[in-house]
């Protein structure tokens, strides 16, 4: 089955009102080119589930988000994501704010077809007070109370990987796959962008197949976008773009907010235009890997 699509074709699956999940973590291996494609559509009223970075800031600032399910939104070296903050501080978005591990459990529950997974996480905190979606349950096995972390069922997931074949076999060789396997499994429809498109026999050699973390039946569309995680990192292929993130974050202080950034990099432009504006694919691939 050939799952190769253009970014626009793949993103056309997303409709207003849907719940979408976005893989990666903060400024790390985010499917940013797919997010930019989503920004170019007139889709709105999304519920978005993510370990958030600039993906969330951009979607919030562009008015795409009705509700955010999150544990944090951060660019790491710029700890506070300014566009997300602005949306929260203006009271523009609904939120379900959960612990990082609860988000994992919600994705896992969706992947496993469970209505919820019981956990002690959140007890004694405002997480359970602030989210009407979170219920406490009794256990049939003890007398404690438990948080019932509900399944985070996703309509569509967006993920960026290092390489894939046209059948949807996806490889992440960077040191952390984050929760991307769970995003793939929690969604009805998973769209994966890849830096490198390879033939199927690439995976037959050595231990290449050990770095494939979900089976191809969980991948519905493959979009070949070299550099597609920029400005986030795609270790070991390239690091995150510090200068670009600074410009992005700085735009929050502009009179027009994000509009100037979007005009320069996204609105009415193609991904080729974007890559040209940020110095080209060679410049992206030359970005130094982060040292933590």
């Amino acid at each position: 089955m050939n799952k190769l699509r253009s970014a626009a074709e793949a993103i056309s699956q997303i409709q207003s009102g849907m719940t979408i999940g976005i893989g990666g973590w903060g400024p790390r291996r985010k499917p940013m080119a797919l997010v930019r494609e989503l920004l170019r559509t007139d889709v709105t009223d999304l519920t978005v589930v993510a370990y958030g970075g600039a993906d969330i800031g951009l979607l919030c600032a562009s008015g795409k988000v009705k509700k955010l399910v999150f544990a944090f939104v951060s660019l790491d070296f710029i700890p506070l994501e300014p566009h997300f903050r602005a949306a929260r501080q203006a009271g523009e978005i609904e939120v379900m704010e959960v612990d990082e591990g609860m988000l994992l459990l919600g994705l896992r529950a969706a992947a496993w077809g469970c209505p919820y997974i019981p956990t002690q996480i959140g007890l004694g905190t405002d997480v359970i007070r602030n989210s009407p979606d979170l219920k406490l349950v009794d256990s049939p096995y003890d007398d404690k109370e438990w948080v019932a972390m509900p399944a985070l069922n996703l309509d569509v997931s967006l993920i960026h990987v290092e390489r894939a074949d046209s059948r949807g076999v996806c490889q992440i060789k960077g040191p952390d796959l984050y929760m991307d396997d769970l995003y793939a499994r929690a969604a009805k429809h998973t769209i994966v962008s890849c830096d490198e498109l390879v033939d199927t026999d690439y995976f037959h050699a050595g231990d290449e197949a050990r770095y494939v973390h979900w089976e191809r039946a969980q991948t519905d569309a493959v979009v070949h976008i070299p550099g597609g995680a920029h400005p986030s990192s795609c270790t070991p292929l390239y690091g995150f773009d510090v200068a670009h993130f600074k410009e992005y974050a700085g735009s929050a202080k502009d009179e027009r907010g994000i509009a100037g950034y979007l005009d320069k990099y996204v609105s009415g432009l193609t991904e080729d235009d974007y890559q040209h504006a940020v110095g080209g694919l060679d410049a992206i691939r030359a970005l130094p890997l982060p040292v933590y």
Binding site: F72, V73, R88, G91, L104, Q120, G124, P175, P290, Y292
Partner: protein, 268 residues
Amino acid sequence: MTDTAASDYTLAELMIVAGAECFRGEGEVLATGIGALQRLAASLAMRTFCPDLMMTDSEAWLLSAPNAVSGRKPGAAQAQETWMGFSRIFDNVWSGKRHALVGPSQIDVFAQTNISALGGTYAQPKAMMLGVRGFPGNSISHRNSFMVPSHSTRVFVDGECDTVCSIGYNPARLPRGYSFDDIKIGRVITDLCVIDWGGRNYSPRLVSTHPGISVDQVVENTGFTLEINGEPPLTPAPTPEQLAIIAELDPKGIRAFQLKDNPAGDRR
């Protein structure tokens, strides 16, 4: 290691040494320091009196020996012993075999902390910070200690935190089936003093003051009442050996940029 105190050290180095003490007595637990001083504190503990601690590279590997916090080149060799991506971190957290040293925006009398919404309403906060991150799960699973670079009533708040991100010793929030013994709070290391919750009925207590800091200064800058038993001892100064290890762990000296104006450790 000798007990001879160094005479020339910075406040950052004093706080690193005091932060390392948070881990004393811990065995094989994952020591996680978030922030440069916190990481240096955990690393110093692992390099000296807590050799069984576990530590990550702050990315995806568990290390047999801590990495330097500065001056490392991309892809430099490190003593990695186990894969430890984020999903496995949660397996570790929920096992309880972890102790985190972190820096909240607010801490209250119950040892509850906040790194999320400040002021305003929850629907429209005055200042949105990071989000709760892993604080709820950390706090109910394992011991947590805290570092505060600027001790003030803005951090040590009067009343509860604006958003309670981590469970503490608040009777009104104690979950059914739990007792305060299930909640493990370590210490708070600030730029003025060390605090723990070892007072009567888990109340906050002044453990030590840093050289040159008065009890009155601590009291003035704390929005809740601290248990103070007589004249508290001085926070121990770093030893020359400790300073040498800290310098080795931070060859580029980023510790000098973590506190405003990089004050001297002894302010007498």
